[in-house]
């Protein structure tokens, strides 16, 4: 009897406790998605409520952005291309840097580990606006970065005002120019030559900014994973005569695969959403080379008053990002990293122990480790 009362109270409490969350998330996260989809299929012009003042016009907005030749398609292609280079620049760099920092900070013999961890993580704590403001100062034409570069006798570019693409510079070395063989064809309104432009110098600053602010967070993820790598495994590898590089690449790295995958996917999801920095750095300037889909959607809606197109771009961006998220979910769920990781570790330890026995019987295992008795 007492149990029944408790059970009934439980159900009521359960609904009541989750009600605020359900309401707020439902209204302000789920509803917007549906409203946006509706507006993207309509011709709403920005006055009054979209539900009353707009007519459905089918896929015209999506066509304008994806298939019809014109400025909208070209802008969308430019935004996708820019964001693609941003992703290709940021994700590998931030992953490699975070991993490198984590490995270095994790070393047993290191003193001052706390200081280093703090130093590398601190940029992640500050707001994107503050950091971008500081970077605009550092990378000004006659700013700090160009000052440091000038010590090496090189004239730094006018970072934020330089729209020339890195890819174009490389292509130029091979004699492929704007009017060359790649000038025709292409997709989304850009020629193949345009697609191969690489990130512009200004975009490179944003890439550096992203790596600066996010490598600390991912370093912590890697640190946690490294600390889970059993001490035994590293010992076994060391006894076997493996130097630090060998240990890292053949033993540690495979065990870090799940975390590596998480970091890569989080990086992918994050880089496709870049907005704040683009807004502050000039909204696509110079020459639309820092334009990204997120900012393009904002610009189309709030500046060109083309809400249908803006929401269509938002929804396309949503699809891109959700695809990556789903891939991450699927791969991680199947892998069941925890259990299979431990299995692999056990097998590795057994193998190394066997090797160690064999080595002891014939050979000097210590010399490979730099140890002198």
């Amino acid at each position: 009897m007492v149990r029944n009362n408790i059970r009934g109270g439980e159900a009521r409490a359960g609904w009541l406790f989750t009600a605020p969350a359900v309401i707020i998330i439902g209204v302000f996260l789920v509803l917007p998605i549906f409203l946006a989809v509706f507006v993207s299929f309509s011709d709403w012009n920005g006055r009054g409520s979209p539900l009353g003042n707009a007519e459905l016009i089918g896929t015209d907005n999506y066509a304008a952005v994806l298939t019809e030749e014109g400025l909208s398609q070209r802008d969308f292609g430019t935004a996708i291309r820019n964001n693609l280079y941003y992703v290709l620049g940021v994700v590998p760099l931030q992953t490699a840097l975070a991993l490198f920092l984590a490995v270095q900070v994790n070393r047993r013999i290191l003193k001052g580990r706390g200081f280093f961890r703090t130093a590398f993580y601190f940029p992640s704590v500050t707001s994107s606006i503050a950091i971008t403001t500081i970077f605009i100062f550092l990378f000004a034409g006659s700013g700090a970065v160009n000052g440091i570069i000038s010590w090496f006798g090189v004239d730094g570019p006018n970072w934020f005002a330089d729209p020339s693409g890195v890819g174009h510079k490389i292509l130029g070395v091979f004699g492929v120019g704007a009017a060359g063989p790649l000038a025709d064809g292409g997709m989304l309104g850009l020629s193949w030559y345009d697609w191969l432009s690489g990130p512009s110098v200004a975009m490179c600053v944003l890439i550096i900014l992203a790596v600066f602010t996010t490598s600390g967070t991912f370093m912590l993820l890697f640190l946690a994973a490294l600390q889970n790598v059993s001490q035994e495994v590293q010992e076994a590898a060391a006894i076997d005569g493996a130097g630090p590089f060998r240990t890292f690449f053949s033993v540690t790295l495979p065990l870090l695969k799940p975390t590596l995958f998480t970091v890569l996917t989080l990086g992918l999801i994050g880089t496709w959403q870049v907005f704040d920095q683009v807004y502050l750095a000039g909204g696509g300037d110079p020459g639309k080379t820092t334009l990204t889909p997120a900012y393009l959607a904002y610009q189309a809606s709030f500046e060109n008053l083309d809400w249908g197109e803006g929401t269509a771009i938002s929804f396309l961006l949503f699809l891109i990002i959700v695809t990556f998220t789903l891939i991450q979910r699927w791969v991680l769920r199947d892998r069941d990293a925890g259990r299979s990781g431990l299995r692999r570790e056990k097998r590795a330890v057994q193998r190394l122990r066997a090797d160690a026995e064999a080595a002891k019987l014939g050979g000097n295992a210590d010399a490979g480790r730099g140890i002198v008795r």
Binding site: R47, L71, G284, D285
Partner: protein
């Protein structure tokens, strides 16, 4: 236990209601206050507009609040989308067609008693679908502004003031030193376009787009020649935000700007400058005129009072006061003449009004223009022929859409 839950819920609900009640701006005041949103060129302009609004308030008894926008385009868009636009606002020439075309603006021009005072060109510019929509509040033309100290240093005299492209090149070359560049202006259609016009080119001819023409190409090539010779640098390349800053900070000896250049006196009081007409090109003299109008939202409940405010603000006396305060030229012919007569410094700008053209501005042209500006960004390697071809195609598409 249940009491606690209820009280918590009540507290949360109450807090939500209170917060919902605290609206940040323009809620529903019982006494009417007109909100005026402006984009300012500096403290002088803000002060002048506020003073004028207060003067009208005293006369009419209606309160006016002048707000300065950090980003006028954005704030107007969100204002309209939030169904809470300001009662009166600056409507810029490049956005006018978009706003009018989307039905955002109240057509009050024909109701103004002083509608006949404005320059006919500006009245036409702000006519949409046969209706005179909004009153032009001022106009500006582009002129050549020269740093007189640097001019004297280079040993140049009045005879060397550029009147055509050759003399412009010569002057810019003489004025280029390792410390400052001879000429600078914005890397955009709104500046480079004057050279296209001076070469005899235009963008719209009646109902046809004629952007892709040899004259326009000639204008672009001339600018390129200045750039290649190293006597022209764009503001971003010399660490300046715009031409006026380049002039004031001493980074450029000549700039192409409008009468709003007066605004740099606050930040750069030591820079001495003089303004002249732009040099003529092979196709004759040409410059751009920019105007803004006073926009009233369509269906605004305060329209009657606001129109009366506009009438006050566009009266000849008030326009001359604005002109004296922050340098824009009055949009009514009589006022402009009064101002020009008393003010030799801006004679160059006013003279330009005779042959000024308005930059292209139909609904959708703004996006095409910013694409044009984007293509010009990589100036050293820009392919002008293909840029003009694309400009033509995109303008044609936008024009077709706008009909």
């Amino acid at each position: 236990m249940r009491r606690k839950m209820l009280s918590v819920a009540a507290l949360a609900g109450g807090a939500a209601l209170v917060l919902a009640g605290c609206s940040g701006g323009g809620g529903g005041d019982s006494t009417e206050t007109l909100t005026v949103l402006i984009g300012t060129s500096g403290d002088a302009e803000t002060a002048a507009v506020t003073a004028a609004a207060d003067a009208w308030s005293a006369e009419s008894g209606v309160d006016v609040e002048v707000k300065v926008a950090a980003n006028l385009t954005e704030e107007l868009a969100t204002g309209f989308a939030g169904d809470d636009p300001p009662d009166l606002f600056y409507m810029s020439w490049d956005q006018f067609q978009t706003y009018a075309g989307n039905g955002y603006l109240e057509s009050y021009g024909d109701d103004l008693p002083n509608a006949g005072d404005f320059y006919p060109t500006f009245r036409d510019e702000y006519t949409f679908d046969g209706e005179f929509v909004c009153a032009p509040k001022d106009f500006s033309t582009l002129g050549l502004i020269i740093n007189t100290d640097m001019w004297a240093e280079a040993g140049l005299t009045d005879a060397d003031i550029p009147t055509d492209w050759e003399s412009l090149t010569a002057a810019a070359t003489a004025l280029t030193t390792p410390e400052h560049v001879g000429l600078s202006f914005g890397q955009e259609y709104a500046r480079i376009g004057v050279f296209m016009a001076q070469a005899g080119g235009s963008i719209v001819d009646g109902d046809e787009i004629v952007a892709d023409s040899p004259e326009n190409l000639e204008g672009l090539e001339y600018v390129k020649s200045l750039y290649d010779a190293g006597v022209l640098r764009f503001p971003a390349e010399i660490d300046a935000g715009w031409g006026g800053e380049a002039l004031g900070a001493g980074k450029a000896a000549m700039v192409i700007e409008g009468p709003w250049i007066k605004g740099i006196e606050g930040d750069f009081p030591d820079t001495n400058y003089a303004s002249y007409e732009l040099p003529a090109g092979p196709g004759g003299p040409a410059t751009f005129s920019f105007t803004n109008c006073w926009g009233i939202p369509e269906g605004s409940p305060t329209a009657e009072d606001t129109v009366s405010l506009v009438e006050f603000l566009t009266s000849d006396d008030q326009q001359v006061e604005f002109a004296n305060a922050y340098g824009v030229l009055p949009s009514s012919e009589a006022a402009a003449q009064t101002y020009a007569d008393s003010n030799a410094a801006i004679a160059g700008f006013v003279a330009g009004a005779d042959y000024a053209v308005t930059p292209v501005a139909f609904d959708g042209a703004a996006a095409v223009t910013s694409e044009f500006n984007a293509r010009l960004a990589d100036f050293a390697t820009a392919d002008f022929a293909s840029i003009l071809a694309d400009f033509q195609a995109q303008l044609e598409a936008a024009y077709a859409d706008a009909q």
